[in-house]
Amino acid sequence: MVGPRVALMFCTAWTDGVAQGPVEAGLVDGDLGGAHRVCPATTLGLTPAAYAIIEPENLYGRILATGTLTGSWAVNDRLELYARLEAVRMDMLISAISTSALGPGYTAVGASWRGVDGDNWALAVQGKLVLPTAFLHDEHGAPLAADAGVQFVWAARDTLLVHAAVMPNVGLALGGGPLYPRLGVNVDAGAEWRAFPRFSFVLDGISAFGRTDTLDYAGVGVGFRGGIGEHAGLALEARLPLVGRERALTSVDIRFDWRF
């Protein structure tokens, strides 16, 4: 049932700059398939991130570095709209003939609506659209993608949240060439523990299926999140795929957020 329009205890308890929610260091452009926090917040942020594949045995390496501007608007205590704009995306491919590209990256716009909740749990419906704005990277294809799913959060204690999300996602390439349709689902579960007033730690089990292979990847996500004062937050997060088709060693980001 739809709960009353009152803030959950764990949402009201985490109102400073310390980030909340699953690890968001994306292995897929625009963090497609990644879940978002369920507690709405109005923020502005900057996230430098890197993604690395290093396979000398295949004469292949890829270093992808992005600088992403993030922003979110807590429309009310249940609904958040957010956007992620890769202002700078640098893609370096190391091969027998190495190449690189520099330009704007992908843009994601999304929403999270905490539709059902109880005293210490919540169920949110989330989704986002990843727009083909990496004009200098995708010279002809224009990949458009979206995800939509649910995330369940249970507060074991005020300082210990357990989350799980299922995020089906779909993508296709516009631009006059093959559509390359992709359909998959991300299944993530983990916990975040606010061990200290200004510090939390998050550990996720991450997995994705069907988008590029039966098992795109399964691995872990880790995050160290701190708060500076009442509004600022700093987080270091990483996703590490351990099995599956995904070739990346890791995806790492550093998030600077200002919470209003």
Partner: protein, 970 residues
Amino acid sequence: MRWGRLQVPVLLLLLSLVACDGPACLEGDPACLMPSPCEVVAYTCEGGSTDAYWLGPNDVPPGGLAALGATGDLVLANDRIVAVIEGLDHPHYIAPTGGSILDLGITGKDNDSLRQVFQATGLLPEEGFHYTSMELLEEGEIRAVQLLGTLDGYPDVAVATRYEIRPCEPGLRVRTEIGNGTADALSLYLTDAFYWGSRQFTPFTPRAGAGFTHPSFGLSDIGTAFFDVPFMVAGMHSDPAASYGVVACSEEQLTGFQSDNVSAMGPAPRVFPARDWDVYERFIFAADGASISGAADLAWELREQLWGEAWTTLSGTVVAPGGKLGENLRASLLVVDADGVPVTHVLPANDGSWSARVPADRTYTLHAESFGREVATSEVTVAGDPVNAGTITLPAVGEVSIDVLIDGVSDYAVVNVIPADDATAAATEGSVFGFFEPCAPMLGLTHGGSPSCNRVIVNGPTTIALPAGNYDFYTSRGLFSTLGAVQGVTVAAVTGQSVTLEVTTLDVQPAGTLTGDFHVHGGASFDSNMPDDDRVKAFVASGLEIVVTTEHDVVNDYAVAIDALGVADRFTLLTGTEATGHLLFRYRTDYGFPQVVGHWMYWPVLYDPTAPWRGATYDEKAEPGLLTTRQEDGGWSRAEGVVQMNHPYGGAAFGRDYSWATAMGIDQTLPLDQAGGSTSQSLFFHKADDARYSNDEYDVQEVMNGTKNESLLQYRSFWHYLLDQGIVRGGTANSDSHSLVENVLGTPRNVVFTATTRADFDVATFNADVRAGHILGTNGPVIVASIGSRTPGLESFAPVADDVLHIEVSAAPWVPVAEVRVLVNGQASTYTTELLHPADPLGAEGLARVTLDIPLSDLLPAGSADSWIVVEAGAALAEQGDLDCNGLPDTGDHNGDGSIDWRDVEELDEDPGVDCFDVVGPLAEPAEPERGSVEWLFRTVTPHGYPMSFTNPFLLDRDGNGAWSGPGLP
């Protein structure tokens, strides 16, 4: 802002993304149809036509020095050009499947000179195009072939190519589509790779400072070799020649690199994100003749049609007092604009006239080149109308008529023209457009037909033009004749004179032998530019009795040239092939990169004029044992044929190892692992899946390869390493000749002790003696060795107590023999330096140098362990060190300080501080001889070589158990 206001622009954006003109054949639809490329280009003519057909076994494929069109290939032709697209099931060279442009020539000229043009997205083997379907299309007068497939190592990267021919057009319109259906970004360099093969084409690009000059590069720094250019053209040197070029239609500039091996031209390399796609359209064209200007004229014409760049015609005349242009005098013009951009290069016609298209409204400097040297410049400014640049006068030259009498009769001979003094050498040294090695004098293109470099084939009085100066003329009939010499001939401008060289054959060759060269290339090989008729003339001039033609990957029997010259009775020709790895693959588990397996010889392999590879067998992605299996499946006889490992150690071209021992990475301080795995020490015995033979099942290996002997000591070291382990293979000595310059045919050669004769030649008997190691390898000295009744070979025998090693060494007078060495179990000892030396190296006396009888008891180590003995004669060998500790000599004492250390390593500037170096070399070679010495005379017909001969081993079964086993590694 309300959504209603946003709807229109958003929908328009999405519509434009969906509806833009994209690729047609990347979604696996076999019925797809790619659009016609280069729609802006238009040619018209009267009576234009097109034709397209699949070659059948009764069709005559288009001809030319590089022609390889075969049954199952597709011909696209019109009134101007004829092209052959190879069938999918018999790819050539670096392409993983068929679908490449294999031949391209001028209609009716039979002048295909092109090796291959194929598509790729990079340098790695998985980045080649793997076509799976090939369809002939007929659309009105248009004929086209459409190929669909994927990248070889990326089945999710779809590719498609359309080759199209229209009436009146001088080339093929080509469109390639590619889509990245993988989950990862790739590095995309969508390119046509023009496989020149080396020693023949000189790619030319109109870029400041470029023209024929391109930066050298390796695989590790290839990024520095990429440049943007408006087009690339290239010319073959040997007639009937064609020149080729490419202009992009979908890009204003092409990006790529140039070398005499490969030119790669395409859109600039870029990141290719997952689900992106690309389309590349270009025009690949051909022009008649060797002149770069033929193709460059077409390129400038296409640039005008595509990009509106105006051109005009520049013409003029070149005259040379005393010389006849195009017959015996080579002249050319390089046209360079005021910004230093070479825009074209012209070979004037025989009457001295020339013309070429150049961009309008520029000032040009004409650089006239003759005999490989710039001899005049002239400046001219053009607007939009044709301009006659006037007459350029080249320096006057003289003429010399050369005749060679072999035993008193004019006959084929290769004459080396050598400056008689340093001043003439300095004044005449030149090079071909800055390409290839210099020659003094530069009589003709370095790797073309005669005259070539400073060498000329004569058969009766033959006139050549020569710059003024003092010259010596030398020739021989192979190794076993006198040295014909005429020295100190002063050639003055605008005068003519004659020289006659007299050569007498000598009784040096042992009775009961046939001489043979088992490694010979001609124009059919991808890295040779030698016309068949000149190649056959060189066969005769070499004095060889048996010539095994071993073209890379193909077979050629030279029958047309042999018949035309009427020399079928002068030698016996056996056809074979040199299996030459191009496609990298992974077979070694202790090495991180894909490789090839070096070069392997198979003979006899029958020539088939209409079959793929002309009768050879597909030889890519196979370990040696599998190669042998395939050859047998293709008709080669294991029982009567020969497998030869060529040049065991060597370098690489574009990551392709020339040599099997190098590729294996063997450490010669360690024994081979007979278990036969996939590591350095075990690959030697490995048997690949699907192979009936293991890699070690070859018959002979080259101990000598090439006239220079530059790697002899390493080949020899490997042979001894195997013998020490009881792995017995015959040793051979071959020229690996590719032209008159790149190794002298028959130097070195094999003297095969055999019961068969030329008059009653039996190939099975001959090959059996080759396999049995009944061979002396030599570039001059002749060794006849015996122990009792036994002669060298791979049959072991038990010596008796008082056995004596009997050695007789002889040689032509111009062959200096400094010492005789006897090697017992690989331990070399200089047995004697007390040899006779002929009084007159240009005479015919003094053939016998030494006779020795050495008790075996003086040679063999104590005990009764089996042993082997090899006898060598020739120059003293330079001392070498093994600085990387792998048991292989690698570095000489270059600084002459008496020790071989890091100071002798060319690439080291400081002591690396380790016992075993990562970087070593080069090997030392004997000192440069003084002019006029017998060593110098030897080099006049054996350029950069030193005398060397070796016997095959005596295998001494000292323990008398009936089986010979190696003495073990030292």
